[in-house]
């Protein structure tokens, strides 16, 4: 079996993998980083969004081997020194989550949005979230959280 090497949440990891292993399964089953979730099998729901070399990707649309040599950040790597990332903090402050299952993908996706567009309006936030499904919140508080986080991230 081929070996893949990547940096995940700042730590270098190497594993032999079955070539058909998806990145999301690699993270969950090999590295036991279970925060990244699987919600569908058609790359539609976005519960598995992680950052690959700094931008959001659906970890179910990519083979682990394709991430060879890449820098991966998962939801477990977002908080630093025990402090929630401003996006995580804003989701909590504005009740942008209920069951929490879509939340990691939603947060990772939102961080990428704000990195690209530091001051998104409501329409832009809603458009950006096209690839993430939340069944609990009606998106109302997610949109609010992201706009507030953008403000916090601008400083």
């Amino acid at each position: 079996m081929p070996t893949v090497t990547m940096t995940v949440n700042g730590q270098q990891v190497s594993r032999e993998v079955d070539p058909r292993t998806l990145l999301v399964d690699f993270l969950r089953n090999e590295l036991h980083l279970t925060g990244t979730h699987v919600g569908c099998d058609t790359s539609q729901c976005g519960a598995c969004v992680v950052h690959v070399d700094g931008t959001s990707q659906k970890a179910c649309t990519m083979l682990a081997m394709q991430a060879d040599g890449c820098e991966i950040t998962t939801i477990e790597g977002l908080a630093k020194n025990g402090e929630l990332h401003p996006m995580q903090a804003a989701f909590k402050e504005h009740h942008g989550l209920q069951c929490g299952f879509c939340t990691p993908g939603m947060v990772m996706s939102a961080v990428d949005l704000v990195q690209r567009n530091p001051d998104p309006n409501e329409h832009e936030v809603r458009e950006w979230l096209e690839g993430n499904i939340c069944r609990c919140t009606g998106y109302h508080n997610i949109v609010k959280a992201i706009q507030h986080a953008a403000k916090d991230m601008r400083g």
């Binding site: 279970t34 925060g35 929630l84 069951c99 979230l129 919140t137």
Partner: protein, 787 residues
């Protein structure tokens, strides 16, 4: 100490969810576990001539392949329907068996045929492809409207009729129609929905041959009920040997209430494999095929009115699709959860409802967010809007004229329920103010100038939450009691563990319940932990559905708190050398009345566990359990108003504004309650505009079998909502709460469809009001003007 009793307190559970530290079922891995995959029927209806598992058994990594014959040989029972509905001739509903693995016939696409267990999930999936099933195809029926005349789904149910049930007074209703000045009529389809919790269902079955104990990890909304059904009806296991664990669950919306084939098979197969844990994870495709679906009614409804628009009588005829087999509560949904809500918020003196429930070759249908109440509200509120149009009356005015008034509670409806309290007009007035109703005509003109069609739609809903009391539901055929339990345990150091039988899968119990308990004891909210979702840790409970958590589960907790206070008074009396009758408790302090002699509850808790000098009649410990069986349902209500704008060129319906004024009784955490409303509205909007479970009428295939085909509401399909509240406390439970989880899903479809029909000037449209349907009708509407 902050008063957290009714405040926007941030959620305790959020930190673990936000950092990826939640414990959902798929996050558990058991030592030595194997993976199970189901071979599912590709046919809507067929006889199984034979199943050849030999190739699959030889595939790499395969541990075992099981079929229905193996379960039959072990005497495994049928998955039961837990609610017996008696038809209008006094006969029980038709209850054909539902085997966890099909025995000789499959009845819907996705039906369970065989179970392949292998070392890895991928190996099990590969091997499942090698199971060869020789089917003899049979004619199928999937359309609700064709069920009664369609091919026979079960030999036990002629004409595919499960039951023909009625409620209300037919003669009185006929009399009301005979004297009416005006009759309005409407025909409605309540489209079939797939719940789509974002976490797919999953299970791990684990048998311990050493202790003869079973553990089931499951995505369940009610672990105890799952255990009860497994033990008593399906696997015939001793209940004390079975533990069901369902800690973090990624949404349920009803679909995770039931005992399904999958978890049953995992538990059974683990024992067959001498205790090897077996994990099953649903793909989303499996979720579409085999999670219980919701709704699926066809209804004709009529209202008889006098010349002033006063409702005299209402007649409703409904055909309800139950799918291929009866899910646990399938029969209750279109009857006791639907027919009993047909009065709505109105004083219609005579109502008659008739419901025929049918079998079809489709996935089982059961409760989905709201369960029967959304269907009822949709009928009542679409009909009332039609009445207003027929009478040329303002839709707000016709409602106002027929509302039950605040001084008329408790109000006995003609369809069995007794409403507890409400202020329906107050919510309407508030909603009208919020939407700026007087200026709607002006906004409509502005839209017209832009070439757009603007509409406004009302929905004044009522729901019945916290299904109860046990005595009543038992008399109506329920196989369970509908109480809730709680244990409130002070630990020696003063922290509090609360064990609740209700189950949180997004509702924020860890926060709301902790607020309530901290408020009750005057203690620090951070010292209260809520424990749920594990039959090994909590007393017997009934889980979460039907917005029962705070009204029923919260009431049980308060009862247990009261018992703790009573016990604390005995200990305080001893410590303060006073009579128990003289001890008062307030804000965390026990006091001898009229003195400055006090003990804090923390001191009492410590003394309770270090009872060195307790007299004989005072037991050590500060740990009390209570069961609460409500006296009645609770009746949340409210008014939602949707204002929409249709682009006739594209058929797009834009929600221009949405106001919701809800009355949930006492609210503990407004932030959480508003979140529930938002989510509910989104699901209602999804039903009205986008979602539809479609089976091909010829082949019986599920056409909408993935997120590529079934349209889920996404962020850009929805607006931000404006939410207001009125508060009429529930008079019969100690919390005063009524329930909030389902309101949005109940209210929204009617509000939105009334707005669309208002804009289009026609009611010839059924949910989902897709762009294509709306575009066609908008073109028709504009056609005469263009000529």
């Amino acid at each position: 100490m902050p008063d957290t009793g009714a405040q926007r307190v941030l959620r305790k559970e959020d930190n673990r969810f936000l950092t990826g530290r939640g414990h959902y079922t798929d996050d558990f891995n058991r030592q030595g576990q194997a993976f199970g995959v189901f071979v599912r029927s590709e046919m809507a209806h067929a006889r199984i001539k034979s199943i050849d598992t030999s190739q699959a058994e030889q595939a790499p990594g395969v541990v075992a392949v099981f079929t229905g014959k193996d379960m039959e040989a072990d005497g495994v029972g049928s998955l039961p329907c837990g609610w017996t509905v008696t038809d209008k001739h006094g006969n029980p509903h038709k209850a054909p068996p539902h085997w966890p693995l099909a025995r000789d016939r499959v009845r819907y696409v996705g039906d369970h045929v065989a179970f392949v267990v292998a070392e890895t999930d991928a190996q099990a999936r590969d091997a499942a492809e090698l199971v060869e099933v020789d089917y003899e195809p049979l004619d199928a029926v999937v359309e609700t409207g064709k069920a009664l005349n369609g091919p026979q789904v079960h030999d036990e149910a002629p004409d595919n009729l499960c039951f023909d049930w009625e409620i209300g007074d037919k003669q009185a209703t006929d009399d009301a129609f005979a004297k009416a000045d005006r009759v309005s009529k409407i025909e409605l389809v309540n489209n079939r929905l797939i719940p789509n919790a974002i976490e797919p269902r999953a299970a791990i079955g684990e048998y311990d041959p050493g202790t003869d104990e079973y553990t089931l990890y499951s995505t369940s909304q009610n672990p105890h009920l799952l255990r009860l059904i497994l033990c008593a009806f399906v696997l015939n296991l001793p209940e004390h040997k079975v533990r069901v664990v369902a800690p973090d669950v990624g949404g349920g919306f009803g679909s995770k209430i039931y005992c399904y084939a999958e978890e049953t098979v995992c538990v059974w197969a683990s024992k067959k494999l001498n205790g090897r844990p077996i994990k099953w994870l649903a793909t989303r495709t499996e979720a579409f095929q085999a999670d219980a679906h919701g709704r699926d009614h066809i209804t004709t409804a009529e209202m008889a009115m006098d010349k002033d628009g006063k409702f005299l009588g209402m007649r409703v005829d409904t055909l309800a699709n139950l799918g291929a087999y009866l899910s646990n509560f399938a029969t209750a949904v279109p009857t006791y959860l639907y027919g009993t809500l047909l009065a709505g918020q109105y004083k219609t003196p005579a109502i008659h409802g008739n419901v025929k429930a049918v079998f079809t070759n489709t996935a089982p249908v059961d409760a989905y967010r709201g369960a029967g109440r959304p269907e009822a509200t949709y009928v009542v509120e679409r009909l009332v809007e039609r009445c207003a149009r027929d009478m040329n009356m303002d839709p707000a005015e016709i409602r106002r004229r027929n509302f039950v008034q605040p001084d008329e509670f408790p109000y006995q409806t003609p369809v069995a329920l007794t409403y507890d309290s409400g202020q329906y007009e107050l919510a309407l007035d508030e909603a009208l103010k919020m939407i700026d109703y007087p200026n709607f005509a002006q906004r409509r003109q502005e839209s017209e100038r832009k070439g757009k069609l603007r509409g406004i739609g009302f929905s004044a809903y009522i729901e019945a939450c916290g299904i109860a009391p046990s005595q009543v539901v038992g008399a109506l055929g329920a196989g369970v009691g509908l109480w809730e339990s709680a244990q409130v345990r002070f630990n020696a150091t003063g922290s509090i563990s609360v064990f609740t039988g209700s189950h949180s899968h997004g509702q924020g119990h860890e926060t709301t319940f902790a607020q309530m308990v901290a408020d009750k004891f005057g203690t620090d909210y951070n010292n209260v932990d809520i424990v749920h979702g594990d039959t090994g840790r909590i007393p017997m409970g009934m889980g979460t559905y039907g917005s029962r958590s705070l009204a029923v589960g919260g009431s049980a907790i308060l009862r247990a708190c009261d018992k703790v206070v009573e016990k604390g008074k005995k200990i305080a009396a001893h410590m303060l050398e006073a009579s128990v009758d003289d001890i008062e408790f307030d804000s965390g302090t026990f006091r001898v009345a009229g003195t400055d002699k006090t003990k804090s509850i923390g001191e009492i808790a410590f003394a309770a566990y270090v009872p060195h000098d307790f007299p004989q009649d005072v037991e050590p410990g500060l740990d009390e359990t209570a069961f609460y069986d409500p006296a009645n349902f609770t009746y949340p209500s409210g008014v939602h108003i949707a204002e929409i704008e249709i682009d006739p060129d594209t058929g797009e319906t834009e929600i221009a504004d949405w106001v919701a004024v809800d009355d949930f009784g006492r609210v503990i955490n407004p932030m959480i309650v508003e979140g529930q409303v938002h989510g509910g509205i989104a699901q209602g909007v999804g039903q009205a505009l986008l979602e539809n479970a479609v089976y091909d009428p010829d082949s019986g295939q599920l056409v909408t079998g993935s997120y590529q085909d079934y349209t889920m509401p996404r962020a850009d399909d929805l607006p931000s909502f404006r939410v207001g509240m009125t508060e009429t406390p529930c008079p019969h439970n100690p919390v005063g709460a009524k329930g909030c989880g389902e309101a949005g899903a109940i209210a929204a479809p009617a509000a939105l469809m009334n707005a669309i029909t208002d804009a289009l000037g026609t009611e010839e449209i059924q949910m989902p009001a897709t762009r294509e349907k709306v575009w066609r009708l908008a073109q028709q509407r504009l056609a005469p003007a263009a000529e």
